[in-house]
């Protein structure tokens, strides 16, 4: 069942989303060569708690950390570690969820560490723009497939591929709610969008094949060909005036 949110609930989601966006702003200044993903996790955890929110991912289905840090070929769900220090030329995808007064905000960004290759920068830029291509279709009366198709078309026209094993989702009182929001599919298909629906649109874009594998830690998802992957996500509410990003400052 898809949960339609009231204005009161959406306001709480804006607050949760603001905390997530501010956490990204804070972290963006610390992402430099030498910093470990565990340090990033600690900073985010402290910041979220200081803002009277809780980390949505911590202990979610047993996940052991507060945020996800996925480096280079890691697609999503990378577990922060003291032994993973970022190096110049790396790209790191960070996924953050914060729960404020019972409602979640969920977003992800991919950052460049130091100077990166032009191909890696293009991957990050295309991933970000594909989110906005998809979001532009999040209007009442359209269908989930319209979002999915817009993301896929943009990504593939730029020579990259969209991950199919993982999808976006509804978000609200639960971190993951119905419906699923894939990044590939046919326009005009799927659930019809209505005002008050809150969804997390999250393109995961690979430089090579869209096939992925999960590492033995049970969480970290990596590209099957070990090529780079980028991630961009925001929680969005569908309104008659157009989509509104909830995870913004």
């Amino acid at each position: 069942m898809i949960r339609v949110k009231s204005e009161h609930e959406i306001e709480k989601m804006r607050s949760a989303g603001r905390i997530v966006a501010e956490t990204f702003e804070m972290l963006s200044e610390t992402i430099k060569p030498g910093v470990t993903t565990k340090e990033l996790n600690a900073l985010a955890d402290e910041f979220i708690k200081k803002n009277k929110a809780t980390c949505s991912f911590y202990r979610y289905n047993g996940y052991p950390a507060s945020i996800c840090t996925s480096v280079n070929e890691q697609v999503v769900h990378g577990i922060p570690s003291g032994s993973v220090a970022l190096k110049a030329g790396d790209i790191v995808s960070i996924d953050i969820g914060a729960c404020y007064e019972g409602y979640h905000g969920d977003a992800a960004r991919t950052f460049a560490v130091g100077t990166i290759s032009s191909e890696a920068q293009k991957l990050i830029d295309v991933t970000k723009q594909s989110f906005f291509e998809g979001m532009s279709k999040a209007i009442p009366g359209n269908r989930i497939g319209d979002i999915a198709n817009a993301v896929q078309s943009y990504v593939e026209s730029n020579g990259f591929s969209v991950v199919r094993a993982l999808v976006g989702h509804g978000v609200g009182a639960e971190l993951h709610e119905a419906p699923e929001v894939p990044n590939f599919g046919t326009a005009g298909r799927g659930v019809r969008l209505v005002s008050g629906m809150t969804i997390a649109i999250e393109p995961m874009v690979n430089m090579g094949t869209y096939h992925v594998n999960t590492l033995s830690d049970g969480w970290t998802v990596v590209t099957a060909d070990k090529k780079l992957s980028a991630h961009y996500e925001n929680s969005v509410v569908v309104t008659a005036k157009g989509p509104e990003i909830l995870t913004k400052c």
């Binding site: 069942m1 898809i2 949960r3 949110k5 009442p140 009366g141 209505v194 008659a240």
Partner: protein, 91 residues
């Protein structure tokens, strides 16, 4: 088809055809009471046959919560939740 309190449904028959409502209460396996805060107010819910309603797959979580806790649901709550859907449908 079984409907539960808090579910958003669309009327398939009657003068309210095409409007969205929230299920407030169920009665047996054939009837439910629905309101939208405008045409059908909280103090006078409309008894409708389930077969005259279409399931939308959407749930008004906040209203379901209030109903299960026995808290008062206002017409304003319903209008805020459905107003946008009903105006989308008429757009």
């Amino acid at each position: 088809m079984e409907l539960n309190a808090g579910e958003i449904v669309c009327s398939k028959a009657g003068r309210d055809k095409g409007r969205y409502f929230v299920v407030m209460e169920t009665e047996g396996s054939e009837f439910v009471f629905v309101c939208d805060g405008k045409l059908r107010k909280v103090d006078k819910p409309k008894k409708k046959k389930i077969k005259h309603l279409a399931r939308t797959g959407f749930l008004a979580e906040e209203i379901k919560e209030k109903l299960s806790l026995g808290e008062k649901v206002t017409n304003q709550d319903l209008r805020k939740m459905l107003g946008k859907m009903n105006s989308d449908a008429n757009a």
